[in-house]
């Protein structure tokens, strides 16, 4: 338990970052869909990106107006 999540091997962080940035720069209402679409074949990376986005949103509230809605998929995964 002393290990952290970042010890996880084989995450393609370059790709995760790219998707994260693409999503961040998209209009808020399209973000969830972009993640779903872009990473539909990589559930694990999708989760990573979703966590980053949630983390970003949690942090952003302090600095800015929260500008995006939470992904519904976080509560109840569609499909």
């Amino acid at each position: 338990m002393s290990r952290t999540r970042q010890d996880m091997p084989e995450i393609d962080w370059t790709r995760a970052k790219q998707v994260f940035i693409d999503v961040m720069e998209a209009p808020a209402e399209q973000r969830c869909e972009i993640v779903e679409r872009t990473l539909r074949h990589d559930q694990r990376l999708k989760q990573v990106v979703q966590r980053l986005l949630a983390s970003h949103e949690a942090a952003a509230d302090f600095l800015d107006e929260p500008e995006s809605a939470q992904c519904p998929s976080k509560r109840s995964r569609p499909r």
Partner: protein
């Protein structure tokens, strides 16, 4: 420090680069001028860092700067070293930020061990990453945890980690970091956002919050 501040008002990067070059070529005047600039620069860094450090008055901005100054120029000033270490302004600011980091980490370690000796405060290890921008306060433990996370970020995204260090330890603005790293402001902003999200996650910032009930990917 008002006088030191007045001496050099926000030197342009070009000016510093010029001074670094001349100083490296042996100009004593350029070197003296540079020293003053560095002092002012570090003092600004210290003040921005002191806003983040809990104001418990165990470490004053002036003390911090003086210490940073000594360390920085002990490193560069060795006469028989011959070469001026800071070959460019990027090297210079990176070194300055690294100096600040070392001081803060040493300080945080000392205070953390004091604390452990005193009360067993297992408490809240979450770091409010927002202090990176909106200065509030950081516990010594939090500083250490954050520093550790930044080191891990380096393996994921080296440039993003550098940006965090320069901003957090160096107190540099986005535009300043961008010109230093010779990338666009936009790139710095993107990296910064990614880094913040990554660090927050790495530090368990959403444990017990609205972490998705889905399996945390790959935790050991």
């Amino acid at each position: 420090m008002a006088d030191a501040r007045a001496e050099s008002q926000n030197p342009a990067p070009a000016e510093i680069t010029q001074l670094l070059t001349e100083s490296a070529a042996g100009s004593a005047m350029a070197r003296d001028h540079l020293l003053r600039i560095v002092y002012v620069e570090l003092h600004a860094m210290a003040r921005s860092r002191m806003r983040d450090e809990r104001a418990d008055h165990t470490l004053s901005a002036t003390a911090l700067v003086n210490e940073a100054y000594m360390r920085l120029f002990r490193a560069t000033g060795e006469p028989n070293g011959g070469s001026f270490l800071f070959a460019n302004r990027r090297g210079f600011f990176t070194a300055a930020a690294a100096t600040m980091r070392r001081i803060l980490i040493d300080h945080a370690r000392a205070r953390a061990s004091e604390k452990r000796g005193g009360d067993q405060r297992g408490g809240n290890r979450r770091v409010a990453l927002d202090v990176l921008e909106a200065a509030t306060s950081l516990d010594p433990e939090e500083i250490l945890a954050l520093d550790d996370a930044i080191s891990r970020l380096e393996a994921v995204d080296e440039r993003a980690a550098s940006i965090v260090r320069l901003r957090f330890y160096g107190g540099l603005e986005i535009a300043h970091v961008a010109s230093m790293l010779e990338v666009s402001d936009r790139t710095v902003k993107r990296d910064w956002e990614f880094a913040r999200a990554w660090l927050r996650e790495a530090l368990g910032g959403w444990d017990g919050q609205e972490a998705d009930e889905q399996d945390a990917p790959g935790h050991a």
